[in-house]
Symmetry: C2
Subunit: 301 residues, 2 copies
């Protein structure tokens, strides 16, 4: 089945201890879409300004990402982010954020996309996520992401949104904050009480923990020494996860686990180059080759 | 084959946010031995004082741990440790350490144990570990642990010891310090250059990373909400690892991976109760039942 993602489309400047990339394609929904399109038809819903480069539009189109829901707003400027990774590549500083068009009215889901079955609401204000949910006419699986800012300052709106989703994907720090528990399994259990039927806690280099009412599944990250730019690792993980779920149209225990594995492998590809370069160059075969290695690593007597 | 462990035997007092245990059996070699004995005959080499309770000796004997190498030193007192776990159970404070007999001359490996094939040198001064290695007459596999104190203050002695071991087991913080790299895969690679043919980096709740010249293997911890007392998790992990290697007499890639899995499962049993209570109550069948669950968790299509 096809998949729709809402979220940020941006122009990033990224510095690492050894390199930098200026004015490259970024944003949560973009990383997600480049990962998800490896598995299924992916519809991108977001808004950019008049300054959004044609070259970025082309690379999205060349990757078969459906841009029906990409709004280019007259007179507006595209979201921009400038970040710097510290020595260990696991911590980063945000040097500058220009919300630009992302601070204005959110985009709408075009009428012809509203019946999409699989939907991922990348991080944005929970009230905006809630409005996206309202626009959907036949959702089969809705999963969202969130962030510390909303957990702290917009908790009521977030709790309302969480009642309307099937799954939540968030990082470990956010899970602790939302669940009110320092222990991740317990934090995950607490979040289940807020609405979602499953919670996926992203732990960066430490992998991922799925918490559902019946069980917990812990999977490691695909180990690699080649980390060029960690930006988008979490979003591409979510893209691989949701892309695989939509492609297989299955989200029981085993389906979720297979999808988590795809997410882990796609994320490990994402971080091998700046921006979406490695993702855009990857094929489904590349992902499955990595999945085969990952599977072999996790098999033992 | 049989297995020998050298290290600390102690009397612990442990506080957690909800409970405490006073004057219970502890020490790195003890936790190791209670885990390893689930797989193979395990010989404990260490020294205690006259105050070492008979009840502790009995629980060791009842678990079929070979006490030939347990020296009771006249006039000396047993090592004591008092620690407190903070809210998240991952951080702890040491409230008091009384080295006592551990600060005196180290024990010797009894003559009849010196031909043991599999040897684990739990954390102690690297010069003492080096002396233990010198006493061995036919080692097949020597693995050691170490700690931040020796990495910082006894680096030369530690580097000498590392030349004489096949494997090193240490935690993530220690690996970063010893390898001089914040990235764990790179830290592990740097440590390989110091002598060991494999490095096992323990990451607590995040599992374990094996680094060898050919590859990296990352395995998650066995996920559990039931954490009563994390003391001994790392030592029992090492005990499960080494116990399985000795039992199967095999330490190639696949053998190591199977052993890492046993270590992860045994560690998850260890932390379910204070002291060695859960380990002492466990059977090999209990471990394999947990391994079967762990294996199923890590298998996917």
């Amino acid at each position: 089945m096809s998949l729709l993602v809402t979220g940020t489309i941006g122009i990033d400047t990224v510095e690492t201890p050894t390199d930098r990339a200026d004015g490259v394609l970024g944003g949560s929904a973009v990383y997600f879409a480049f990962a998800a399109r490896l598995f299924t038809q992916t519809r991108l819903v977001g808004v950019v300004g008049e300054d959004f480069p044609d070259a970025f539009r082309r690379v999205l189109e060349d990757s078969s990402i459906d841009l029906t829901g990409l709004e280019t707003r007259p007179g507006a400027k595209t979201f921009r982010w400038h970040g710097r990774y510290l020595e260990n590549m696991n911590e980063r500083q945000t040097l500058r954020t220009d919300l630009n068009v992302v601070g204005e009215a959110p985009p709408q889901i075009p009428g012809e996309l509203r019946d999409t079955g699989f939907v991922f609401l990348a991080n944005t204000h929970p009230a905006v996520q809630h409005e996206f949910i309202r626009q959907l006419t036949g959702p089969k699986l809705i999963v969202c992401d969130t962030m510390n800012l909303w957990i702290e300052s917009e908790r009521a709106a977030l709790l309302e949104t969480l009642k309307g989703v099937d799954g939540l994907v968030l990082n470990d720090e956010e899970a602790r904050m939302l669940g009110g528990q320092t222990d991740l399994p317990r934090a995950g259990q607490a979040i289940l009480g807020l609405g979602p039927t499953f919670v996926v806690i992203k732990k960066g280099e430490h992998g991922v923990l799925l918490v559902s009412p019946d069980e917990m599944i812990s999977l490691p990250a695909f180990p690699t020494e080649k980390v060029e730019d960690p930006t988008g690792a979490g979003d591409s993980f979510a893209g691989g996860l949701m892309g695989y779920l939509a492609a297989t149209n299955r989200f029981d225990r085993e389906g979720l686990k297979s999808a988590l594995a795809r997410g882990a492998c796609v994320a490990s590809i994402c971080i091998e180059a700046f921006s979406v370069d490695a993702l855009a160059a990857a094929t489904r075969e590349d992902v499955e080759a990595r999945v085969a290695k990952y599977k072999a690593m996790l098999a033992f007597d």
